[in-house]
């Protein structure tokens, strides 16, 4: 009997505080507080700068350049958005960036999916050499070839043309596209492909009738990443583009100047409105992309 009592005491010993924290509902709540506090801090840290841009975009200039700083606009206005969108080079930049990023993405997906088909579904000598080449290209520093590209572009009469950007952006979008699509291609199950071959399909038919639909989600994801990279690029844009009509979005964002009457004042309201306009689509697309990644890639196709 005494042994049982001893065991009970021994069990009760490990600090009653710990037991209380684990057992009682209040205790469990208290224990969770630092955790949720940490979550809240991360949440605010990640979103506050974007909130601040939105807040500044809706704040009229009279309040924006006034102290003390207001944390919520008391007279929200759309004037800044009107200002930004009526700025000629900004409107052009939205169009230019769409053209550049769109073309680069399409070209990369087209060329890249063909290459990924070869690298992911065929066995041949030199396959791993090509894969290593593509991988090393993805960490290639763009600055390292700026000089050579600068002279090439002027030789081809592409200076200050969007074509210069479409061409040079392939450096970072294409190897990346090939690399990612290859890994998706390789992971596809072989049975559908074999069935198609048995039915007498040619490799090209297998590619666009069987494999391409299967990796469609991967194409969307990869394409979106390539699009974002091209949309955000700054180094080549600032080096190869000169006139405001050819500006891309990053160039335009850095080029807002105050109106003639208030030239000394940086028009932060319009700039923040412009930043909100160019980032909202990206954020929306990224949130969709996140779901894409989570969704199983081949599950539906093989089972269905």
């Amino acid at each position: 009997m005494s042994t049982a009592a001893e065991a009970a005491r021994a069990r009760a010993r490990p600090a009653s505080r710990g037991v209380w924290l684990r057992r009682s509902p209040v205790g469990r709540l208290v224990k969770k507080v630092p955790f949720w506090l940490l979550i809240a801090v991360i949440f605010v840290y990640a979103l506050f700068p974007f909130y601040w841009a939105v807040r500044s975009a809706f704040t009229p200039a009279s309040e924006l350049f006034n102290t003390p700083v207001q944390y919520f606009p008391s007279h929200p206005t759309l004037a800044n958005f009107r200002d930004a969108l009526s700025t000629d080079f900004f409107r052009r930049a939205l169009l230019n960036s769409t053209i550049v990023a769109g073309s680069v993405t399409l070209i990369s997906l087209l060329i890249g999916s063909l290459a990924a088909y070869a690298l992911g579904r065929f066995r041949f000598r030199g396959r791993s050499a090509v894969l290593y080449l593509m991988l090393s290209m993805t960490i290639f520093p763009q600055i390292a070839i700026l000089g050579a590209l600068y002279t090439m572009i002027s030789d081809f009469h592409l200076y200050n043309r969007l074509g210069a950007l479409i061409l040079t952006y392939l450096i970072f979008t294409l190897p990346f596209t090939v690399w990612v699509l290859t890994s998706f291609m390789r992971d596809l199950p072989g049975d559908l492909e074999e069935a198609a071959y048995v039915d007498g399909a040619t490799p090209i038919q297998v590619f666009y009738k069987v494999l391409l639909p299967l990796i469609a989600p991967a194409l969307v994801t990869t394409g979106l990443l390539a699009f974002i990279a091209a949309w955000n690029e700054y180094l080549y844009a600032v080096s190869f583009i000169q006139t405001p009509q050819k500006y891309t979005v990053p160039l335009a964002i850095t080029s807002f100047v105050g109106k003639s009457g208030q030239a000394f004042q940086v028009p932060w309201g319009s700039i923040m409105a412009a930043t909100v306009i160019v980032t909202l689509p990206l954020i929306a697309a990224t949130l969709i992309l996140q779901r894409r990644i989570l969704a199983g890639l081949t599950a539906g196709a093989v089972k269905g």
Partner: protein, 308 residues
């Protein structure tokens, strides 16, 4: 792990059938456009850059005829204090941002890895800074750090952390910290997502076994989490370091070409595009390429050493 029996080596049969060579030919045909594009926009320019670094080429070629100058550019570069300062500035930036991004990223990854309501939302929120273009992020922070109307000064003064407003960006003592703040904000969540992916492949039963053995949470972190996370950590560190070493956008938006805050990439860009010194700029490019390669070699060697 290594207990899996290796299959006996099968003598390679001669199966160079027609089908196989046809397959190979088709594969190269499919690869052709990609290889042509990569050669044209990356490999050829790289060769051209190396060649140009041994010449005195100017962008406006009429002024001085281009000729071979041997190692002259590299000798000049070795004594170029602007370049040396840009290397120091870049390495400082890299050190600060990589350390902070890794430490904060690891904490965030560990927090988000525990299951709680709203984890999906949290992961989505973490992608927001990553999706914002660097130039745009730099502009947002430039406004937040404004010396008179900036929210950072306002918050600092309100909470009495700051005694008075500061000119964060133009003050040389805080300018580096302010660019680092932008980069850390923009990249930490992404680092966290990479580490989170690494955390999620660690088998749960390891922790259960450790619980049974009475290991504390801290012991579990040092003995299970950290060793098993090592591959993810190294990949993350390599990619972040390479990225930080070629930093351009944030510095360019904040300081333009202010000489005391130039990075390697900005000095290189302004030499080529601003001054038109293509030959000398090419030598700087090659030097940057070598410096970045040096970091890769250091990491890979370190990885090999610690693996044994």
């Amino acid at each position: 792990m290594s207990s899996v029996a290796t299959p006996a080596p099968v003598p390679r049969r001669r199966r160079r059938t027609k089908l196989h060579s046809r397959q190979a030919r088709l594969a190269w045909l499919l690869l052709l456009p990609a290889l042509a594009a990569v050669s044209f926009v990356a490999i050829y320019p790289l060769g051209k850059t190396i060649y140009e670094s041994f010449t005195n080429q100017e962008f406006l070629a009429g002024i001085t005829p281009t000729k071979w100058v041997g190692l002259h550019n590299y000798r000049v570069l070795f004594h170029d204090t602007f370049f040396r300062n840009s290397v120091i500035e870049t390495v400082k930036f890299t050190g600060i941002t990589v350390v902070f991004e890794f430490a904060l990223g690891l904490i965030i990854a560990l927090v988000v890895n525990s299951s709680f309501k709203g984890r999906g939302l949290m992961r989505a929120v973490m992608l927001v800074p990553w999706a914002i273009p660097t130039v745009v992020a730099a502009k947002m922070w430039q406004w937040m750090l404004d010396d008179t109307f900036g929210v950072v000064n306002d918050l600092g003064v309100r909470t009495h952390i700051l005694s008075h407003s500061r000119a964060w960006i133009s003050d040389p003592s805080t300018s580096l910290a302010s660019v680092c703040a932008v980069d850390i904000w923009k990249t930490t969540p992404f680092v966290a997502l990479l580490l989170l992916a690494g955390l999620q492949v660690i088998p749960r039963d390891l922790y259960e076994a450790a619980d049974v053995d009475g290991a504390s949470k801290l012991q579990q972190f040092w003995r299970i989490t950290l060793p098993l996370l090592r591959p993810a950590i190294l990949v993350t560190l390599i990619f972040r370091t390479l990225d930080a070493l070629r930093v351009f956008d944030v510095f360019y938006v904040f300081f333009g070409q202010r000489p005391d805050t130039q990075t390697m990439a900005i000095y290189n860009q302004s030499t080529i595009v601003g001054d038109g010194h293509v030959g000398y700029g090419a030598a700087i490019s090659v030097a940057i390429f070598l410096i970045i390669s040096l970091f890769v070699v250091i990491y890979v060697t370190f990885m090999r050493v610690t693996e044994e």
